[in-house]
């Protein structure tokens, strides 16, 4: 027996030692199978496909500051957040919750895009798939930069080289300190990203949640449009519409439905939304009477977009291309059509512009619609602005539009009354650039927007 047991022990110890020597392999097992270090193009694509971060968290601070709605005193008081109350009345500072706010959410999209771009570099991925993913990341980054610029900087104009832009974070290294660029640099970066993306992306993507070449063209057009470079805006709108120009006929929609539009419908080029923040809640935001007055009785949009408030005293927004109460803020063909129209008119191609406008309105009015016959440039422009406001309501575009039009001399004066007190925002006021969250200024030492 004794003779037998010694070999047993030798075997056991040998076994333990053997296992120890191969323990490197033993310890390489992942603690959680679902974890991965992004090392393949498909991993990076999966990150961009994480729609809760990438598509569903656009910023609504611009829309909150804009003039398409108003709040009753009761609803204003009922806002659970004093930051929203202050934003509504265009206070100069302290408009954002510390730590978690729209600034951090937009930069989270930028971080994911940068992680993907760095990742592609690291694995030196080549080929169509890698190009496609790189292009998508560039569009996500550019789109976020553009939204940031719309909210936190002044409108683009001849002072762009000296005005403050946004911090341009171009790598995923989170230890880097943020620095503000100039407005010129900001727009240049957006355009550069989008132009690069155009060359990399397929014409149309698998789903509008993923950026496509059409989306890159569309964002280029929108960017130039807000820079008031109408010829570039026109030509990129043209390129976009070559790839996608479907329009819905609103006559086919049911205005009695709670939400008459469906999500990801045929007009959507790129899908993202603003989760209706407090003041824009579906039963709070009452439509401004001046906007409402622009819709005539044959305009289908009046009943498709709006419904009466329970007290019957005002109209409320039903929601648009999200098929729900959140605010569609992506790209759709109607916006491109309107950019195209305005671009044509500004460049003197009056007939083309009028044609664009009539093409859109034909699908927005009931069958009594007669094509418009406007020959005066100013009258036509004014009509396009009107239709722009009516068509693109609550799409996050009104705020940058006011800024742009005021630079064109439109002299749009905003005013709000809360509990008998009147608040005004003069054209081109410095408050058109919202203050950066104060805690970010404290943490990074960046320059605050002047007041």
């Amino acid at each position: 027996m004794k003779k037998l047991t010694i070999p047993i022990f030798k075997c056991c110890f040998f076994g333990v030692l053997l296992t120890l020597s191969s323990c490197e392999k033993f310890l390489d097992e992942k603690p959680n199978v679902k974890y991965a270090v992004p090392s393949q193009v498909s991993d990076l694509q999966a990150l961009l496909d994480y729609y809760p971060t990438m598509n569903n968290r656009d910023a609504g601070s611009g829309e909150i500051s804009a003039d398409d709605y108003f709040l009753t005193d009761g609803d204003w008081e009922g806002l659970a957040n004093t930051f929203f109350q202050d934003m509504y009345t265009w206070q100069p500072d302290n408009l954002f919750l510390p730590s978690s706010n729209e600034w951090s959410k937009l930069y989270e999209v930028v971080f994911v895009a940068n992680t993907v771009l760095d990742g592609l570099e690291k694995i030196s991925a080549q080929g169509n798939n890698a190009d496609n993913v790189r292009g998508q990341a560039l569009v996500f980054r550019a789109e976020s930069f553009l939204r940031l610029a719309e909210i936190w900087t002044l409108a683009y104009d001849e002072n762009a080289t000296s005005n403050l832009g946004i911090p341009l974070r171009l790598t995923a290294n989170f230890n880097e300190l943020s620095k503000r660029s100039t407005l010129e640099q900001t727009y240049k970066q957006i355009i550069q990203d989008l132009q690069m993306a155009v060359a990399l992306l397929p014409n149309i993507s698998l789903t509008p949640l993923r950026p496509s070449k059409a989306a890159a063209y569309g964002y280029l057009s929108r960017t130039y449009f807000f820079m008031r470079d109408y010829s570039h805006a026109l030509s990129y709108a043209d390129s976009c519409m070559q790839l996608k120009a479907d329009l819905m006929d609103y006559n086919s929609l049911d205005p009695s439905a709670t939400y008459p539009f469906s999500k990801l419908n045929e007009e959507v080029i790129m899908e993202c939304y603003i989760p209706a923040p407090g003041p824009l809640g579906p039963s709070r935001a009452r439509i401004s009477p001046d906007l409402l007055a622009l819709y005539d009785e044959h305009d289908l949009r009046k009943r498709l977009f709006f419904k009466a408030s329970p007290d019957g005293e005002a109209q409320l927004f039903k929601g648009s291309y999200e098929g729900g109460a959140t605010l569609f803020s992506g790209l759709a063909t109607d916006e491109l059509m309107l950019i195209h129209a305005e671009g044509c008119v500004r460049l003197g191609r009056m007939e083309d512009g009028l044609h664009d406008l009539n093409e859109l309105l034909k699908n927005r009015y009931d069958d009594t619609f007669k094509p418009l016959e406007l020959t005066d440039k100013d009258a036509l422009l004014r009509r396009i602005w009107q239709e722009r406001r009516k068509e693109l309501v609550f799409r996050g575009l009104r705020w940058p539009d006011i800024k742009r039009l005021n630079k064109e001399g439109n002299n749009i004066m905003l005013s709000r009354t809360v509990k008998g007190e009147v608040y005004r925002l003069e054209p081109n006021d410095l408050r058109y650039a919202l203050p950066l969250p104060e805690d970010i200024i404290a943490l990074s030492g960046m320059e605050q927007n002047p007041r």
């Binding site: 047991t5 047993i8 323990c23 603690p31 999966a46 510390p98 989270e108 993923r210 805690d439 943490l443």
Partner: protein
């Protein structure tokens, strides 16, 4: 019952396989004191060194079985000199032994570290030991809840969720609980699987020398649980224990719920201010409470309909219709014994608990332990521990019923006057669900008293723990050991939400589709919704160990070394079935990919998909060694070293290895001539220093993404970033210095120990604030922090009287403080450091404890408006945005003290008279603070969560003299509420003394066993959670539970146990 039957069958099969013992001789007799000639009970009587042991009964009688024809008896007793006696067998008459009063060594305590057992004399480290007798003074289904009231240096915090800690905290962000070891290996399964009746003793390893053998997991201390085993040369024995317990109903009125009348008045006020207008018009039809619904329907606030609601408190409904007294039963039976070559231990335990909500838990434990001496120098041991637990859900209790805005309104009515269940508002307006659906929808109402009948939540756990060990002693000095442990735990959960459950009806209704043609379709088929979850844990441990022991001259050396590997993996699956027909158990398929318009608003939603898979693996490889050298039996030098590596993600192999070591010294002073005294029986000085670690397997050094199932939009997997790159990732390290003194004085009438320690934690995980423009949020966790802790533990056991009434006391007193020495916080904004009453967050402030209570300075209420006031830049201020803003810094806050007690411990006293023992155990905590929570008007409006303090609010000028509760205002101002709830006005002292339990036991061995010393019977009564004797706060708050948890109700148990 089925599992009981199943268990008994297995048990019987085992019984049949029992080995029977050899020829035996009976030894019996009685023990008396020499001077007083009184019969001595509880004298330990032992045959040879490893032989059978027994204790005398209260008549001083004992009874033993010897295996050979001569025996050396050792008789020992506290307060008496140990006597050795050699007897020739067989005996013809009863032995009569007289014991001399006088000094004696400490009762021998063996300490188990999980790697070795050693006597207290040889140990240099700080251990605390809980024996079976003390452990069994309490009645419970689980093991751990019994420890905090009796063990030294251990504290349990229920309110904060920090839980059980040994000597306070050693980490800031890491895992805070100690490592739990059951029979040599860390226990990965649910610790509630272990039956307390199977526990022999528990050792708590407190300092580095004690714990560092456990390396990277021992930073928070180690609790070593040793289960009962049979012994060689032991008489066959049967042990049983059975008890029944019940408790008072939970005191719902302890909770500071707002008074119904106040709540209604507040709702009327909000309505008048137009607060509900937006909800009334909302197309989502959000729920409105009955009062708001009445007001919206045009009812006058003074109407009798509303007035009638004010007198009804929903807690009375719960107490009468939902809660009942729990009833728990516990049965345990064990057989053990052993011959020269083999020993066995066989036990079965069955627990059957029905709680106050009628939730039922059954647990069956079966245990089999067998050791066989294959050769004189080769032992094989194996054990099997099987646990099966079945838990079923009960009724819906007060805290689980939610309603409009989230919290249940206090005037809700659960039943009508006949006791029939009523519906309450849940997710949508009553007015809406009453009328909608043309009879095509399922009933959309929620009946809290009835719903549980349609919901069955069961969890069934089975656990198998298999131990195999070979011990081989090739020479006198060397022992080789191979131990293997395999554990497999499967947990199967089923949540059956029947067709008539609210959840199911609601989901089916929401997904009901009406076509343009007026056709009604159910996207979710009408039927039950069943969720299944299945998780399987399997753990393999293999350890090879060599022990070396040598004594020469005045020297002795004990050493051990070895290696172990460990692999723990969990595989889990969850899935859901829709449209379950409960009669034939068929289910239906649903379309997860279509974006369905939901019924109420038409907004799109996907049908919830609950299917998922997971696989987790934790692996460790460790090398360890430990040695102790003793010179002249007095001077001991010890050391240990260990290296651990784990599969922590993304760390280069070289960095996975962490070396940890410890060293210690001890000096047995009582053996020195200069200290020889009648009064000093034992005196030992100890000093140790060493390191242990803290590993968190969930951290990663690389940017890690985590995959989710397929995206509904792309049909491919999508992923989010789970962990951000952290190239400097390391394990946390804790160093401990410990100096201690063990003593036994006055003939061992007073013994105990005192230890002083200092701990230093470095490379601790700490939060680093970030410029969140970087896009990864406002903070990141890195190995950037350090802390230190210090304290003392005092343990005193005394025998106060030994006459007819034997009075013993046991005192545990611990002092512990911790202080953060390094924690990076670029933002000193005060708001980051003020906690709330609901959650306890790490404050992390340098120079202060890990968990500190800090408040906004309080300037009282404004005498004109009742508004709370603070200080902004030295001036009294009501600008709440500024008070919470970045200009108010942490230095402006008031520091109250730590969240965890600084002094804590227990005091137990036992009186024994004629076999009756009465024990009362006090516990106390001192020197800490908590935030009690008060009215938050914004939360009240938004979530419906009120607080009784509403009734004490400032209403008229002058009220500020006797209240600190601010006035109610509209518009709501969340900053004002946040300021007040974070101010000095809502902090309380936690100090309290509690009578934890009273135990009365009656030893009936005398008349039941008819003098047979081997037979014992006792009957016991236990009252647990007796109550608080003194507390510092005047609000009636139990600081162990806070404001939002109901304190554990007082429990009453009766039981009997015995051996024959």
């Amino acid at each position: 019952m089925k599992i009981l039957f199943y268990g008994l069958t297995v048990f019987c099969v085992w019984l049949a396989g029992l080995t029977v013992c050899n020829a035996q001789y009976k030894i019996w007799g009685k023990v008396l004191s020499r001077s007083k000639k009184e019969l001595l009970s509880n004298v330990t009587v032992k045959i040879s060194k490893d032989g059978p042991v027994t204790r005398t009964n209260y008549k001083g009688e004992f009874n033993l079985i010897a295996q050979s024809d001569s025996a050396l008896l050792t008789l020992s007793h506290v307060g008496y000199q140990t006597k050795e006696l050699s007897v020739k067998l067989p005996l013809t008459n009863a032995l009569v032994v007289l014991l001399e009063e006088g000094s004696n060594r400490l009762q021998e305590v063996t300490i188990s570290t999980g790697y070795q057992t050693l006597s207290r004399e040889r140990a240099t480290g700080a251990f605390s030991h809980v024996d079976e007798k003390l452990f069994n003074q309490q009645v419970s289904t689980d093991v751990l809840s019994r420890l905090a009231p009796i063990a030294n240096g251990l504290s349990d915090d229920k309110r904060t969720g920090i839980g059980l800690t040994v000597r306070g905290l050693s980490t800031i962000q890491g895992i805070k609980g100690p490592l739990i070891v059951v029979d040599n290996f860390p226990y990965e399964g649910d610790i509630n699987n272990i039956n307390p009746n199977d526990v022999r003793d528990i050792t708590i390893l407190k300092d580095a020398a004690a714990a560092s053998i456990w390396g990277a997991k021992a930073g928070n201390g180690v609790i070593v649980i040793t289960t009962k085993k049979g012994g060689f040369n032991h008489l066959n024995r049967v042990t049983f224990n059975s008890n029944f317990s019940t408790a008072e109903k939970s005191d719902l009125f302890y909770l500071k719920q707002m008074k119904p009348a106040d709540y209604i008045d507040y709702e009327i006020g909000l309505y008048g201010n137009g607060y509900y207008d937006a909800m009334i018009g909302n197309p989502n039809q959000p729920a409105l409470t009955p009062v708001v619904e009445l007001l919206a329907g045009g009812v006058n606030p003074d109407a009798a309909e509303i007035g009638a609601l004010k007198n009804h408190d929903v807690r009375n409904d719960f107490l009468s219709a939902v809660y009942s007294r729990p009833f728990n039963q516990q049965y345990a039976l064990a057989f053990d014994g052993g011959s020269e070559r083999s020993s066995y231990y066989l036990s079965a335990g069955y627990d059957h608990n029905v709680d106050e909500l009628h939730a039922k838990t059954q647990r069956l434990n079966l245990r089999y332990n067998y050791s066989y001496r294959i050769l004189k120098n080769l032992d094989l041991s194996s054990s099997l521990y099987f646990t099966k637990t079945q838990a079923n859900s009960g009724k819906e209790g007060y805290n689980s019923v939610t309603s409009a805005y989230g919290n249940l309104y206090p005037y809700a009515r659960l039943a009508d006057t006949e006791g029939q269940p009523l519906s309450i508002v849940k997710d949508y307006r009553m007015a809406y669900i009453d009328t909608v659906g043309q009879g095509k929808l399922l009933d959309w109402k929620y009946y809290p008293l009835d719903n549980y009948k349609h919901v069955r939540n069961t969890e069934s756990t089975s656990d198998v723990l298999l131990n195999t060990g070979l011990v081989y002693r090739p020479t006198k000095n060397i022992t080789l050991q191979v131990l293997h442990q395999y554990e497999q735990q499967t947990v199967k959960g089923t949540l059956e939400q029947g067709r008539d459950s609210y959840y199911t009806r609601d989901l089916i209704n929401l997904f009901t589709q009406v076509n343009t043609g007026g056709e009604w379709n159910y996207a979710i088929p009408v039927g039950g919704i069943y969720d299944f979850s299945d998780s399987k844990l399997s753990v393999n441990n293999l350890r090879g160990q060599l022990n070396y022991q040598k004594e020469w001259g005045s020297n002795s050396l004990y050493a051990l070394g070895g290696a172990e590997i460990r692999d723990a993996r969990t595989i889990s699956t969850t899935f859901r079935q829709y449209g379950v027909n409960e009669e034939v158990l068929s289910s239906a398929l649903v379309d997860y990919t279509t974006y369905f318009p939901t019924f109420i608003t038409g907004s799109g939603r996907y049908i919830p998909n609950m299917d998922g898979l997971g696989k987790f693996t934790n692996r460790f490889v460790s090398l360890f060694a430990n040695a102790a050298y003793t010179y002249r039996g007095k001077y001991t030098l010890s050391g240990s070293a260990r290296r651990d590596a784990s599969n922590i993600f993304g760390v280069a192999t070289n960095d996975k290895w962490t070396p940890l070591w410890s060293a210690g010294l001890s000096w047995l002073l009582s053996d020195e001539n200069f200290l020889k005294s009648d009064r000093i029986d034992f005196l030992k000085l100890r000093a140790t220093y060493g390191f242990s670690g803290n590993v968190d397997q969930s951290r990663s050094a690389l940017t890690t993404i985590s995959f989710l199932s397929n995206s509904i939009y792309t049909g491919t997997p999508y992923a989010r970033i789970e962990r951000y790159a952290n190239p400097d990732l390391k394990w946390e390290k804790v160093s401990t210095v410990n100096v201690g003194l063990d003593f036994g004085l006055f003939g061992s009438r007073l013994n105990g120990s005192v230890d002083y320690y200092r701990k230093k934690g470095k490379d601790l995980f700490g939060i680093q604030m970030l410029d969140y423009t970087s896009g990864i949020g406002s903070s990141i966790v890195k190995n950037v922090a350090a802390m230190k802790g210090s304290g003392f533990d005092l343990e005193l056991n005394s025998v106060n009287t030994t006459d007819r009434i034997r009075w013993t006391s046991q005192l545990n007193l611990s002092y512990n403080t911790d202080k953060i020495t390094e924690n990076y916080f670029p933002s000193a904004s005060a708001r980051n450091f003020v906690g709330t009453s609901a959650a306890t967050n790490v404050t992390g402030l340098e120079g202060k404890p890990v968990y500190s209570v800090l408040s906004y300075a309080w300037a009282g209420l404004n005498p004109d408006t009742g508004a709370p006031r603070g200080y902004y830049k030295g001036q009294i201020s009501e600008d709440y945005t500024a008070l919470l803003g970045p200009d108010v810094l942490v230095d402006n806050l008031v520091y109250h003290g730590p969240v965890l007690p600084v002094y804590f411990g227990s005091l137990g006293n036992s009186l024994t008279f004629e076999g009756i023992t009465l024990t009362a155990q006090l516990t106390y905590k001192y020197g800490y603070y908590f935030r009690r929570g008060s009215i938050d008007y914004s939360a009240l409006a938004v979530t419906g969560k009120g607080h009784d303090d509403y009734g004490k609010r400032w209403e008229n000028a002058g009220d500020e003299r006797f209240t600190d509760i601010p006035s109610a205002i509209y518009p709501l101002n969340p900053s004002r509420d946040e300021f007040f709830n974070g101010s000095e006005a809502t902090v309380e002292k936690g100090d309290h003394i509690r009578l934890q339990y009273i135990n009365l036991s009656y030893d009936m061995s005398g008349w039941l066993a008819r003098g047979d010393a081997l037979k014992t019977f006792s009957f016991y009564v236990n009252i647990n959670n007796v109550g608080i004797l003194w507390r510092a706060n005047k609000q009636g708050i139990d600081p162990d539970y806070g404001t939002y948890q109901i304190p554990s109700p007082r429990t009453y148990a009766i039981g009997f146990r015995g051996t024959f």
